[in-house]
């Protein structure tokens, strides 16, 4: 029975990774940049919700909504100020370093406002634990909410991208910016929208992650951010179902290796699996293989 418990825990952790990875993968698919500040947007989401709910004592739903709004605005502002001027830069590494700068900036602003001590986050989810098989398996309320949220968001995103005009515009921009512009797609608007969606997802992921693992510091988002990036690459970066599958698999692998092999080696095992996958299939599980042409 412990196997099932581990599996559920793994899927729960994986859902958080998947939510973050969805944001990563969308931004990568369109802007072709690794947004290293994404993990810190998660942290901002967590702290906003913490301020609204714990410090100001307002309703959790309000807290989640406000943190989504704050992160969305933050995502758009970061894109406009720090990334957009470098979009046509001669090296794609320039924008990567700026993203690292933004990441430092967010961490240090949070450090100045909230201090380095860990804040304990009160869960925003009020769902009863579910007991199955006469209490042999107990599923945490947060776990259920996280998994359901992740699946719903993933479905909505797929519908949005495949069925709406905006989504089609995103696909067009991700394939060829210049051609999309000639077809009358508003490229700048589409990229802003992508950042907005990615950051909103990061806010939700932040709130859910802090509900499940309730310690909040300015550096909370950094490691999950890297793990989610790994998940996105794992599933094939740029692919939305890939990010979902990659996230879930990564979470399950991490929890299983903690449980069955060694808790200290879990990170090493996660990364080793990633390396093996990439060596067998160099573009990730669901990535498209683009042949290089002369």
């Amino acid at each position: 029975m412990s196997f099932v418990t581990y599996l559920i825990n793994g899927i729960s952790l994986g859902s958080v990774y998947a939510l973050i990875a969805l944001g990563y993968t969308m931004v990568y698919g369109i802007a072709k940049m690794l947004n290293f500040a994404h993990g810190d947007v998660i942290m901002v989401g967590g702290f906003t919700c913490y301020t609204i709910c714990s410090t100001m004592g307002m309703h959790p739903v309000l807290g989640v909504l406000i943190s989504v709004v704050v992160c969305t605005v933050l995502g758009i502002v970061i894109e406009k100020i720090a990334y957009k001027p470098l979009r046509k830069a001669s090296s794609s590494l320039a924008v990567l370093i700026t993203a690292i700068g933004v990441s430092y900036l967010l961490q240090n602003v949070a450090l100045l406002i909230f201090g380095a001590n860990a804040k304990s986050f009160t869960s925003v989810v009020n769902v009863e634990n579910i007991n199955l098989f006469d209490g042999q398996i107990s599923i945490n309320g947060v776990t259920i909410v996280t998994i359901i949220t992740c699946i719903v968001i993933m479905a909505v995103l797929m519908l949005f991208i495949n069925k709406t005009k905006m989504g089609q515009a995103m696909l067009a921009v991700s394939e060829d910016k210049g051609a999309a512009q000639l077809m009358g797609v508003n490229v700048n608007g589409t990229i802003s929208l992508t950042f907005a969606i990615g950051s909103a997802l990061a806010a939700i992921a932040g709130v859910l992650m802090c509900s499940a693992y309730p310690s909040l510091t300015p550096y909370t988002g950094s490691m999950p951010g890297i793990k989610a990036f790994v998940a996105a690459v794992f599933g094939g970066i740029g692919s939305i179902p890939g990010a979902f599958i990659g996230g879930i698999l990564l979470g399950v692998i991490q929890i299983f290796s903690q449980a069955y092999i060694s808790s200290q080696m879990a990170d090493a095992i996660v990364f080793a699996v990633l390396i093996v996958v990439l060596l067998v299939k160099p573009t990730g599980l669901l990535g498209k293989n683009i042949q290089e042409k002369v």
């Binding site: 001027p85 090296s91 590494l93 320039a94 370093i97 700026t98 060694s262 200290q264 990633l274 990439l278």
Partner: protein
Amino acid sequence: MKKTVRSNLITMGLVVAAYIIVQILIGTGNISSLMKGLLVPLCIYAILAVSLNLTVGILGELSLGHAGFMCIGAFSSAFFSKCMNMFVPGMPGGLRFFLAILIGAAAAGIFGILIGIPVLRLKGDYLAIVTLAFGEIIKNLINILYLGIDENGVHFSFKSSLDLHMEDSDKIIINGAMGITGTPNNSNFTIGVILLLITLFIVLNLVHSRDGRAIMAIRDNTIAAESVGIPVTKYKMMAFSISAALAGVAGVLYAHNLSTLTALPKNFGYNMSIMILVFVVLGGMGNIRGSMIAAVVLTLLPELLRGVVSDYRMLIYAIILIVMMLFNWAPACIEWRKKITATVKSKLSKNKTAKEV
């Protein structure tokens, strides 16, 4: 004198000049103890930046696992020094440190080759993430490695110090997360500068050699390079492993600068790799001198800000980093800078002509 030779001499001359200035400042007592403590780290970061520039700037592959190679260099050399201390106590410190440097470089270089074989098949961001993964794996494994030597031979374990089954717990050399304690402090500023000069000599000569031109051809267009008969894998491997070995040298310097060596995320994690990458990109990819200067400036900046605005120093550092990147790389800014220099030049020449008339 050839242009490249002059450029190389300027770069090395800069290092020597900086060294002489610092020595004069130390001699006259005009340097704080805080700055004195920073001298060896400055050399370490400069070596790391120059060596990563070989992979990122000259070879053109984004590597995010450079700190992993530094970690290998640090631990292998510290292990060697500690063993020598235990079993060959009469060995002169200079010789031991020299051998430690060679061992650190060799170990990191070998790992560079081992990791390079699978990694260099990948491209772009995938290569970046795999190097990051390798760096994290190295850090993670060293963190849980227990290693000791006694009369019965070498014992090692990935679980705990008790699993070593050793009679004498004093002979444990690598003690898991507690790392290696009691490494001799052999590093100093002079050795750091000498190693930096050697690093510069190796990298600059490589860049201007036939091999270096082949490596840059691969960077500029892999398919074209391959079609004119350049063995791509061989040269990629060469650049990657030399870069790793030099990072190992920086690791040796690091290990022998501290009495306790632990594999924390702070010193050998991906954050460190990213920091080195920041030096390289800010200093200019492929520009060895630039990356060295960027490493020195960015290491000194937070410490200099400490005196002025201690609470906000990392915040200001982040803002300066973003602004510098925008200023250096944004096409709009480059355009603007060109305009400014053009107007200044035209004004100067106008003044000149006015005077002549």
